[in-house]
């Protein structure tokens, strides 16, 4: 067979080197892609009696892989749109949304809500790329303010709900997201504010950390020396109310069900 499961590790390593983004979503995306290919074993090759992945000659196989790859990518790109469609009704007139750092999914949800003429305002924590997020939102006509990470305690009483994106979602429904998400989640729980996560389903990751230190070092640090601050932190599932994904609106315990359906 053409595809081996060892290749995902290699693939993700190469992708990480080129893309410079965090590994969790890349690894889980690659895992899914491999399954997407291997589960298509039913497809027949040009000689129509041999399975496409077993037939001689690489050209038809390569053509097939590229086709499947494109299909996979289109589905992934579409997931953000699906999530926005699902999530924007949660934004009603007059709400104040708190978000952490930058997230393209959250941006899409807020844009969609704005398009539907909802009046709301957004608070964005500064973190690393908060200013960029604020610019993007203001550019689309959404009222967005930047707040210091230290002031989340101060603003939380005014917030209607918290909406964050995700770098990865783990088996028990816990969240891996940019550094600073965990304190926001704890603060939100403490003041009984709903905490929502917007995440594409390809980011559901087969890992089960029990503590911050359990996160693989690759996910936490960009450079191999592992100095300085980690890039991400882990939010346990008990702080998360709902996850908006292209598979629907899920509770954290449903994430495990979805992963089991897919991998077992």
């Amino acid at each position: 067979a053409v595809v081996s499961t060892q290749s995902t590790g290699e693939l993700s390593r190469q992708l990480k080197a080129t893309a410079g983004t965090s590994t969790t979503s890349v690894v889980s995306g690659c895992d899914l892609f491999v399954r997407f290919i291997t589960l298509s074993r039913g497809q027949k090759g040009p000689s129509s009696d041999v399975d496409i992945l077993e037939c001689k000659g690489f050209d038809p196989v390569r053509k097939f892989l590229v086709e499947r790859g494109n299909l996979f990518m289109n589905r992934l790109k579409d997931s953000r749109r699906k999530i926005a469609q699902l999530a924007y009704p949660f934004i009603t007139d007059g709400v104040t949304v708190l978000t952490v750092n930058i997230s393209r999914v959250v941006l899409e949800i807020l844009t969609k809500a704005h398009e539907k003429s909802k009046k709301f305002n957004v608070l964005v924590t500064q973190s690393e790329e908060g200013p960029y997020m604020v610019n993007q939102l203001n550019g689309r006509g959404i009222q967005a303010t930047q707040i210091l990470d230290a002031s989340i305690g101060f603003v939380m009483e005014r917030v209607s709900f918290v909406l964050v994106g995700a770098v990865g979602v783990v088996e028990n429904g816990g969240l891996i997201n940019k550094l600073g998400t965990y304190p926001v989640a704890v603060m939100a729980r403490s003041l009984n504010k709903p905490f929502y996560v917007a995440v594409e389903s390809f980011k559901f990751y087969r890992n089960y950390p029990l503590s911050q230190l359990d996160l693989p070092n690759d996910d936490k640090y960009q450079d191999p020396q592992q100095k300085g601050h980690p890039e991400v932190d882990f939010t346990p599932p008990k702080y998360i109310n709902k996850l908006f994904s292209d598979l629907g609106v899920l509770t954290p315990s449903a994430v495990s069900d979805e992963l089991i359906k897919l991998y077992i």
């Binding site: 088996e171 028990n172 429904g173 089960y208 029990l210 503590s211 599932p237 008990k238 315990s253 495990s256 069900d257 089991i260 991998y263 077992i264």
Partner: protein
Amino acid sequence: SSGINAEYGEIRSHLNIALKPCFSYLAQCRMMSVSMENFIKHIKLQITKTSPDLSDNEAKEELLFECENFFKENIYLAGKSISEKAVARIVNGDMILIYKKSQLILHILLEAKRQRKQFKVMVVDSRPDLTGVASCERLTAAGIPCSYVYINSCTYIMKKVTKVLLASDALLANGYVLGPVGTAMIGLIASNYNTPVIVCCETYKFSERVQTDSILYNELADPDSMLKTLNADDSLVAGWRESPNTRLVNLVYDTTPPALVSIVITEIAELPCTSAPVVLR
């Protein structure tokens, strides 16, 4: 059997009937555990599935093989698989708390020691059976540093513990863990200190039963064993059978709610407690 024709296909109808008194005898000796009930269901199914073309002897051999296979797959190999996953969670410098004696948990710890992990174990024990002593013996013989406490001191020692490793007798359909009495207490104290609670459970112990407390379904063990470890010359307690106001209750199981369990390790996957019954589907 009555004649040549009767040698074929009789196993299916007769064996189940022949086994019934054996099962009820076992149930009378001691209440059946969830794992035993699951095995009996499995074997009854195997009996009805035996092909009518086989002779009695062939069918018997097949059934014996099924029994062996059940043990090999669901107990022995499952134990190894769980052990691999659990050992991966043990890191150098850990203080692991275990409760009483469990073959599976001891296997995990001995394997971790074999892989040269540096860790210590806190053995928590409780009366009346005090099986934790045997645990301690096995572990110290393997060179693992052990401490031994009664469950009364659990709150005191919990702050030093980094992980709690528990075995279970069953996993219920609503995510509750049925374990030896005292497990729920340990889970509660551990969650107070934010210590991860790892429950190890093979899939043959999964039950469709739903239960939220320890009273609905439980087993009573010998109450007099509670007296043995006391110097019960005190006639008030020793004469409890005569007194109308005193009862000795020696519960065997208790239920731990899923919120107190961080992770359940089965041979199929590592799951949150609430998803365990999904695996059975």
